[in-house]
Subunit: 297 residues, 2 copies
């Protein structure tokens, strides 16, 4: 257990270092835009998506050093999605990662544009994978296609749209599952599948990791919903109760807290089952799944 | 002259056809998002950026059939940038390409997300260039890097930020040139350089086309500024006078209309000069530069 937390911290530190260097410096023009991009990407976040990339690459016995570009790119995409989600026309949240939301500091126009630029920068980072990290060009292109389809209208952005449009409506399991599979699940899937692809895993391994990803995404989102109901705002770095205020589609609202917790446990077990054919190399993915059951942030 | 207009119409039709097929269909979930993306991308626009891609490829005697993915992707990026530019927190424009702006029809949240999804879809399209159009993977990656750097914080988005932040300030040539080189110039440059790269032009040809691109971008923006002062709203498909209302940095504001027109002419001449070493293959680029002097939309 101790080892897991230490490895997480070390890997998160590595990604922080790469993001710090890769993102445009705040001394470059336009200063305010670059400051805003760095404000919402650096110095916060669990770096869970980066860990999933590395964990999946390791699980297929790949070269983890090749994954840094993908890991950094997905953290940029995650950051952009949070900046846009927090906008007044979306969830209208003021606090994120323990500090004021991007638009509260830089204004709405710069926040929209900082999100746009982070998304664009992520693809710039992905295009440099061959040059910076030795990823073969055809694999780099496959990963770019994977990330783009996961984050677009049939993936993450699609989930966000349905999340926004279904607020205030009667809870509905099909809608709830659509939102969760897309809004958070798609990026998690891109991280895991992308990591396995960069690691040049066999197609059957990628298939197993895809099953892990589906269950991980659901378990993650259920625990996220639970934390929004009963988490500690100080640990979470954001206000709680926002889902309830916006009458969002959530597991606790549809099933209650106790049943939601049981469901999370079931999905975590299915994560572990998906990894049954894997060696000790999959330990990080196993630990990450178990972490979901005790996460408090 | 006739031939030029006919070729333009034919090529624009080809791109419309590709965009119609490539963009997610409106019968796919989430319907409203896909409808919104299609609303702002299809059935309007000059397709100038697509033409520049094809013109540059042709100029280096490349295979124009290979450029369709890039041409479609840049039209998606252009459409996304217009959707975000028109938002209330940006230029707050109600009319675009002769119809209500995206956010007036679909609301702000969906407009922000449709823009995000169009940008993402553009990279999905670029990643498919090898498979769909036979572009070699290393060239595809070079093009993706080119597009990402041109459209990001040090390119198009950077220009938009400075445009927004400098509204109402005293006219300043350095600021004006920064905005124009980035906000419109960068995407135009990506189109031209990208087309030449896909066409596997020699480095010296790409250099000449880069010089053409710089001058074309400036001439284009000056004529755009002039049209915002004295164009016909019916032909333009948007309101005029918006730059003046927002006290934007423009050429007419800094130099007056007459001098601005002369400057546009000078830049167009420099476009033609940059192409001096090219054969008849560069005719489309030559015609496109000359078009800027008579454009009324």
């Amino acid at each position: 257990m101790k080892a897991f937390e230490t490895v997480w911290r070390a890997k998160a530190g590595k990604i922080e270092e790469i993001l710090t260097k890769s993102l445009p410096q705040a001394v470059q023009k336009p200063y305010l835009l670059h400051e805003s991009m760095r404000y919402s990407t650096l110095g916060g976040g669990k770096r869970l998506r980066a860990l999933l990339v590395m964990g999946a690459c390791k699980a297929v016995a790949g070269d983890v050093g090749r994954t840094y570009g993908l890991a950094a790119a997905l953290e940029m995409i995650h950051a952009y999605s949070l900046v846009h989600d927090d906008l007044p026309c979306m969830d209208d949240d003021d606090l994120r990662r323990g500090k004021p939301a991007n638009h509260k500091v830089y204004g709405e126009a710069v926040a929209v544009l900082a999100g746009d630029a982070l998304l664009t920068e992520a693809f710039a980072e992905l295009a440099k994978m061959p040059e910076k990290y030795g990823v073969p060009p055809p694999i780099a292109l496959r990963v770019i296609a994977e990330v783009a389809s996961s984050c677009g209208s049939r993936g993450m952005v699609g989930g966000q749209v349905v999340d926004i449009l279904s607020q205030g409506e009667r809870p509905d399991l099909a809608v709830l599952e659509y939102i969760h599979a897309h809004k958070t699940g798609a990026l998690i899937s891109a991280a895991l599948r992308g990591g396995a692809i960069v690691g040049e895993g066999k197609e059957e391994q990628i298939k197993a990791i895809t099953a892990y990803a589906r269950n991980f995404g659901l378990a993650f989102q259920i625990t996220d919903d639970i934390l929004d109901e009963m988490g500690d705002p100080d640990l979470l770095g954001k206000k709680v109760g926002s889902d309830r205020r916006l009458e969002k589609q959530t597991y606790p609202r549809l099933f209650g807290l106790e049943r939601s917790k049981k469901m999370a446990k079931t999905y975590v077990n299915q994560c572990l089952q998906a990894l049954e054919g894997f060696s000790e190399d999959a330990w990080l993915l196993r630990e990450l799944a178990l972490f979901l059951l005790r996460r408090d942030y």
